[in-house]
């Protein structure tokens, strides 16, 4: 049966025309049926994705919120004993440790990252091209390698030992390329007309960069920094190899500190049910930190988009 012969108009023969119409209908029905089936499969995939993620979120919120109380936020952890298996204290030291690590890491990473990003955006040299490849590769490097780097350089080579500064250095190395890349993108997005207007008014290139380009790219730069902090705050592997941990209330750069992700990792493997339960509370606090940072970053970015359009 050749379609072409059938499609030649034969007005005399109404039977053939009907046959053509019927075939076309059948084809259409088959295509529609296949499409339905495939779209249903896609919908099933959406449901399959949602189930574990929704379950995770619900369990995190339900189990986590039952752990949050005054002791949790204000007391130091203590080892439970057979006499009192529920005396586990709070996680104040981890909250303070995480804040300290994040602040030190930001102080190290943000200036270097932002300036590198500005250089990447404004220079057309070979150095910039090479740096861009390095930054993109580093941005995807596994975080455990940052931990190894912090360990080899700060803990071993410089003989500083397991300290907050070692951990925040590892986190800063993690944040650096992320900040550099996002800064480069937002500086690039500043329209050339702005730069040229500044130069036309006789401003020196560095004045244009500092007073025109960076201010108009600022919200993008801030967004990038917030996202980098949000990533660093939850990283476990780098701090696992560098900060030392412990139950003490410590924040000073040259002392061992604890951190929220580290105490999740340690307590999850605890043999005490009370400590295993407390882990959900720590995880909830950590996820809350991350969500607040990411949402702030998103709102900032969308506000900027509205202003531009």
């Amino acid at each position: 049966m050749t379609m072409i012969d059938e499609l030649v108009p034969q007005p005399e023969n109404t039977g053939t025309r009907d046959a053509i119409r019927r075939t076309a209908h059948a084809h259409r029905a088959r295509r529609v049926a296949i499409s339905r089936v495939m779209m249903i499969l896609c919908g099933i995939a959406l449901v399959l994705t949602s189930i574990p993620l929704v379950l995770l979120l619900i369990q995190l919120i339900v189990r986590g919120s039952s752990q949050l109380n005054a002791t949790f936020f204000t007391k130091l952890p203590q080892s439970p004993s057979l006499v009192d298996p529920n005396a586990i204290g709070g996680v104040l030291n981890s909250i303070i440790g995480t804040l300290a690590l994040t602040i030190y890491a930001s102080i190290m990473a943000i200036p270097v990252g932002v300036l590198t990003g500005v250089y990447l955006a404004e220079s057309r040299s070979k150095l910039a091209a090479t740096l861009r490849v390095i930054a993109q590769t580093m941005a995807g490097a596994p975080s455990i390698l940052m931990g190894l780097f912090g360990f080899t350089l700060i803990v071993k080579y410089l003989q500083i030992g397991f300290t907050a500064i070692a951990g925040s250095f590892a986190l800063a190395v993690l944040m650096l390329p992320v900040i550099a890349i996002s800064t480069e993108i937002s500086v690039r997005n500043v329209p050339d007309t702005l730069r040229e207007a500044g130069l036309a008014l006789g401003a020196k290139p560095h004045k244009v960069s500092l007073k025109v380009v960076i201010p108009s790219a600022l919200s993008g730069i801030v967004t990038g920094c917030l996202l980098a902090v949000a990533r660093a705050i939850g990283e476990t592997a780098p701090v696992l190899l560098t900060i030392g941990g412990g139950y003490l209330n410590e924040w000073r750069p040259l002392n061992p500190v604890s951190a929220l992700p580290l105490s999740i990792y340690m307590n999850a493997k605890s043999e005490w049910p009370s400590q295993r339960a407390q882990v959900w509370g720590i995880a909830l606090v950590l996820v809350a930190f991350v969500f607040v940072l990411s949402l702030t970053a998103r709102i900032w970015a969308s506000r900027k988009q509205k202003r531009n359009s």
Partner: protein
């Protein structure tokens, strides 16, 4: 008129030259260059220090790559079990997350009504930002007991199960299978976030054109959207694979942490990154450098994956520019 425009154009070029002229570099230019060089130095010493500390372990490269036991603290240190574990878990996770994730992003773009699309996209990106330790925790405290009670007995009912998954009575909950499941749940949001973006970047003109020719929704997806987005989707896949191979703490919690050189999925195992994390605390001397050597291996795997994915994403940009 035309002379004045060409004048403006040439002035523009001059300005650009002034902007990057090497003769008139002020303190600001030097600051930027200095900081960038600092960044380069940090990155190079990042790679360099790990390699330097790993050198003693490369005295026995054969043992490191194919050796089957890990005798701390004296050695020999065989990395075969970790290499198997890394590839097995991340490949399974990738296949699961790739298929389910592609369907998910297609349904977000083509099925979900427009007003919910942004909310779901935001939600997916937030889920992708959840620290991996939380996924690991969930796998360790929720999924592992469930596997032990429900999944393993169910799987072991099948006759082939003991050959593929390991013999009954050998399960402790944490296993390579559990690690693969946790990894696939973990990389799903990342994969969906990127692939959704790639899919919605396909120009709506060609989609509408094919609808107007009478194509069904699936035909549009199969014959227009997927071929256009193909390279970008491969890029997303490689990124997800890079994330799965480098994942540390989640795998350290749920894989069992045993250097078992075997392929059975229900046995406990470990991965390169997880092994570094679990062993580093007590390691001394040559064991540290053996762990560093595993780190070098992980670095090689990760860097090549990210190179591939980057070149694919760049090619996708060119493809879209042509459309």
């Amino acid at each position: 008129m035309s002379t004045s425009t060409s004048k403006i154009a040439s002035q523009r070029e001059e300005l650009a030259e002034i902007n990057s002229a090497s003769s008139s570099r002020g303190w600001y230019q030097w600051l930027l260059i200095g900081v960038s060089v600092l960044f380069a130095v940090v990155s190079i010493s990042f790679v360099g220090s790990i390699i330097i500390y790993s050198i003693p372990a490369w005295a026995h490269p054969g043992t490191l790559l194919t050796g089957k036991g890990w005798q701390s603290p004296t050695g020999p240190f065989g990395g075969f079990a970790m290499i198997i574990g890394t590839f097995e878990t991340s490949l399974i996770a990738l296949v699961v997350a790739g298929i389910v994730g592609l369907g998910t992003s297609l349904s977000i773009v083509f099925l979900v009504p427009g007003k919910f699309r942004n909310i779901i996209a935001t939600l997916v990106e937030l889920l992708a930002a959840i620290p991996s330790i939380v996924y690991g925790l969930w796998g360790f405290l929720v999924l592992a007991p469930w596997m032990l009670k429900t999944f393993d007995p169910f799987v072991n009912k099948f006759p082939f199960a003991s050959t593929i998954f390991g013999s009954p009575g050998q399960q402790f909950g944490p296993s390579l299978m559990l690690a693969s499941i946790v990894l696939s749940v973990m990389i799903l949001p990342t994969f969906v976030a990127i692939s959704r973006e790639v899919i919605s970047a396909v120009p709506s003109e060609i989609i509408e054109a094919s609808y107007s020719l009478g194509a069904t929704r699936w035909q549009v997806i199969k014959d227009v959207v997927l071929p256009t987005a193909k390279i970008g989707l491969f890029g997303a896949t490689f990124l997800a694979l890079a994330r799965a191979t480098g994942e540390t703490v989640a795998v350290a919690l749920v894989a069992g942490g045993v250097a078992n050189a075997q392929f059975h999925l229900l046995y406990p195992g470990t991965s390169i990154a997880a092994w570094i994390a679990t062993q580093f605390g007590e390691a001394q001397g040559t064991e540290v450098s053996a762990l560093m050597a595993l780190g070098v291996l992980l670095m090689l795997i990760n860097f090549s994956l990210s190179l591939i994915s980057r070149s694919l994403v760049n090619r996708q940009r060119k493809v879209l520019a042509r459309v």
